[in-house]
Amino acid sequence: MITVESLTKTYGTLTAVDDVSFSARPGRVTGLLGPHGAGKSTTLRIIVGLTRASSGTATVCGRRYRDLPNPGLEVGVLLDASAQHAGRTGRETLSLARRFMGLPLGRVEQMLDLVSLTPDEASRRVREYSPGMRQRLGIATALIGEPEVLILDEPAYGLDQAGLRWLRGIVRDYADRGGTVLLSAHLPDEIEAMSDDLVVIGNGRILAQRTIADGVPVLTPEKQPGADHQPQGAGA
């Protein structure tokens, strides 16, 4: 369960996230949809405590992220698959996450198998990886702790059609087993087929929320008190 309440983040005069509230529930896939610079990444970074909110709160499993004793075991996070040390091998990258979390040795090979990185590929340095391979390595890092909650920023980026199908399978299976999934995308195609609940975000504000109840989509346009005021820009 992820609960975001009245989250606002300003950088000087720029409002990157403007009074955003939504929740991602267990057993469901929640998609955060919006163009580049809409505030999706900033919202996700605030949820995992990398960026401090100007106001508002975000909780994961009922607690602030930074209060989780060993976050990797409760929340799997992939924010940017290109943000991995280029000089490390894929296997070493995963093995560091395993060490931080205190997991048994065998998990690394299990995860490499899950994301279809061959032993040979796993022994190569990340700088030689294609965007799709980095994405799969990042997803493996997110999943290695068997968390209850998954937070994936643009997980479809760099994946080919087969990769997308695979991602959809992982995400669906995860939610069906009772996990909470929150993911973001800037293209509706990437996300609509995967998500049970959709949060549409633009210029830092929530524009609409849609939920699929019994297979029927229900669209709720957001009531915006200051809708005639144009929000001031947006951040990454």
Partner: protein, 270 residues
């Protein structure tokens, strides 16, 4: 692509994987950060080069030193030069790579309390120095034995334990200085350049100025941390020299370190 299997299942019960929920002990973070110093190609060669250069320096002394120079002090001072240059670079890169390589995005989500990660990096840096320095001095001792045997003279052990402790302390201060540049600058290239300016250019500049300006020569021990620190490599310090070290250390190391530690807590990993 493989089909979805149970490895991706959300964890339903705590402890199923043998892990506990009691938080991540600092010892585990430190061990992991220690591993990160050596598991990249640059990290591996950087540490390997310390050993290689220590061996080369020892060999050079055996070959080049005249019989009366063939003492333990000659070996340790030859080895100290590569140590003071290379050890701090390990500390610098340990901190800066989280920003320059952006791996901090993962590190700081797995361990959200950044202070603990930074403390672990500091402990690991000092740990590396604590192992590397005695090892290097061991190489020097071996070199002294071999050199004396080859020259047909009695080996000269002209260093006291206090001298060795001074060298260790001097090297640890260098490592902490590198660490400080890391947290203050948080960019690998920037911090390494700053380090070389400090380590190579400033001492030349300082000795040049000191050679011509009397007022600076008198002032130097009170403003030049490198100068005050280098006394540690040359025998026991007088209380005056300790005062120089404490004063310059506060200005050059402690204050910038505090600023760096305050910045690093909030610095965004872009």
């Amino acid at each position: 692509m493989t089909t979805v299997n149970t490895a991706s299942a959300p964890r339903r019960t705590t402890g199923a994987t043998g892990a506990t929920d009691h938080g991540i002990p600092l010892s585990r973070i430190t061990r992991t950060e220690l591993r990160k110093m050596f598991d990249t190609r640059s990290g591996f060669w950087l540490s390997a080069s310390i050993g290689i250069v220590a061996l080369l320096a020892t060999a050079a002394v055996i070959v080049l030193a005249s019989d009366d120079q063939l003492t333990y002090a000659t070996f340790t001072s030859a080895i100290n030069i590569p140590l003071t240059v290379l050890l701090p670079m390990i500390a610098i890169l340990s901190v800066t790579s989280e920003w320059t390589q952006r791996s901090g995005l993962t590190t700081f989500t797995l361990v959200p309390h950044r202070g603990r990660v930074i403390a672990a990096k500091a402990l690991a840096s000092i740990g590396v120095a604590a192992v590397a320095i005695p090892l290097a001095f061991g190489v020097g001792a071996l070199g002294n034995l071999i050199g004396a045997t080859a020259a047909g003279i009695e080996p000269v052990w002209n260093l006291t334990v206090l001298d060795l402790v001074g060298s260790v302390l001097g090297n640890v201060l260098s490592v902490l200085f590198g660490f400080m540049l890391g947290v203050l600058i948080r960019n690998s290239a920037g911090a390494l350049v700053a380090y070389f300016v400090y380590q190579v250019l400033l001492p030349i500049l300082a000795s040049t100025v000191a050679a011509s300006q009397t007022w600076f020569r008198d002032l130097q021990p009170w403003v030049d941390f490198d100068y005050a620190q280098s006394a540690l490599f040359h025998g026991a310090l007088t209380s005056q020299q300790w005062a120089h070290l404490a004063f310059t250390g506060t200005v050059w190391l402690v204050i910038p370190m505090i600023i760096g530690l305050l910045l690093v807590r909030k610095a965004e990993v872009s």
